[in-house]
């Protein structure tokens, strides 16, 4: 059987792997977004006591300082000791919690790049702190954050491939299955896989750029 026939026959498996990668990506980004935003808000506006701030600093340092492969293994083996948890769930948790550490930093510098005068003016007009954050600071911070967030999105797409190491049957592992089951053409299979990641990345980036343009405000500095 010719490699192209194999690819044609097995392409649904690759697409299935791509689907798994996309679900993993969406889940980890969602966890990372919610948790990252929470960490950011607590760091900036929460109590400044060490008891609150220190654990957050340690959290970020640890998740940013350890390779994702190691985190995947720690979560996979660590959780399997507690409960019967599928590799996919372990991957979502490990990658989501790690993304939170990155996203919190993106959000924090975005919030910090909003000039102090904006908060002051909002408060001077009678807005409560919460209203000022919601209506004045957040919309501006979101515009600052979207560029760096697009980068984070891109790196996470590519890192979903590493869930392979704990046996999540995502795109890269599907490719491996095809190669081993058919003694297929390794170069071509990986080229196709690379192309799929590339397209996914491009598509995601285009959407985010479009969103960025939609939010664009004349003269609002990047």
């Amino acid at each position: 059987m010719d490699i192209y026939d194999v690819l044609l026959r097995d392409f649904p498996f690759l697409l299935k792997g791509l689907g798994v990668a996309i679900v993993l990506l969406a889940a980890l980004l969602a966890i990372g977004f919610l948790l990252g935003m929470a960490i950011c808000l607590i760091t900036l506006y929460g109590p400044k006591t060490r008891l609150v701030q220190w654990p957050l600093v340690v959290y970020e340092r640890v998740f940013r300082g350890v390779p994702i492969i190691i985190m995947l293994f720690i979560f996979f083996y660590g959780l399997s000791g507690i409960a019967d948890i599928p590799a996919f769930t372990a991957a979502i948790l490990a990658m989501g919690l790690r993304s939170a550490a990155y996203q919190s930093q993106i959000f924090r510098s975005a919030f910090q790049s909003v000039p102090a005068g904006q908060m002051m003016a909002a408060r001077a007009m009678g807005m409560s702190k919460v209203k000022a954050i919601r209506h004045i600071i957040f919309p501006q911070a979101a515009r600052h954050a979207i560029g760096p967030w697009t980068n984070e999105f891109s790196s996470e797409i590519k890192e979903t491939s590493l869930a392979y190491v704990i046996g999540v049957v995502e795109l890269t592992r599907q490719a491996h299955y095809i190669i081993t089951s058919t003694q297929g053409n390794v170069l071509t299979v990986f080229a196709v896989v690379a192309l799929l990641y590339f397209i996914l990345n491009r598509a995601g980036n285009s959407l985010l750029y479009a969103f960025e343009r939609k939010l664009a405000v004349p003269g609002f500095e990047k």
Partner: protein
Amino acid sequence: MADDLILDVQDVKKAYDGLEVLKGISFGLRKGDTKVLIGPSGSGKSTLLRCINHLTVPDAGRIYLNGHEVLDDNIDAMRARMGFVFQDFNLFSHLSVLDNVRICQIKVNGATKEAATQRAKRELERVGLGDKADAYPAELSGGQQQRVSIARALAMDPDVLLFDEPTSALDPELTGEVVRVMQQLAAEGMTMVVVTHEMSFARQAADEIIFMENGHIVEQGTPDAMFTDSVHERTRAFLNVIAEHG
């Protein structure tokens, strides 16, 4: 306190790191009064203005707006009744001019969108910027931005307007348009406290000029009295310097 005072500032003190910036300041405004605070930089004028709406929390003293004391508990409601115009405008940079003037009407005062829009358009006309409603702050000159920020404050229907050196960040050729708006407001009976170096405005629009130095009120009086025969040596010296350079 006198019952007819809109704003009553009583013995306000503020220190930073042991350095007393305000050493017990008292003054009051009746409805329609325009008081102008003048004095050398570092005299505490801006700090005083910020203490009035607790952007800087005073160490001691009391502030009453319409007979209600300004406290941390009611500060948002109190600030909504006091317009504040910043030196560097601080227009909300992600919002159009119209939205800048609308947002606090809606989110703070609970106005409907229609009512807020109408009011915003009226105030923008008042400051001569009716045609800029759809522009964004960055597309406006400094003078235009400052006029929008005045419209933003006016739209809240405040009891008093506080101006913190509203023309200091502007190029000289742009101060005129802002000063004219302020003069017009004073003439229309707006109650205002203005920190400024614009002596023409002080002379023409103020009911009373307050000269501050080193955290004290040195002297206060009508423009005529202050400009022609101020009692204190320091006041005369300051006004002379301003007259030469301003």
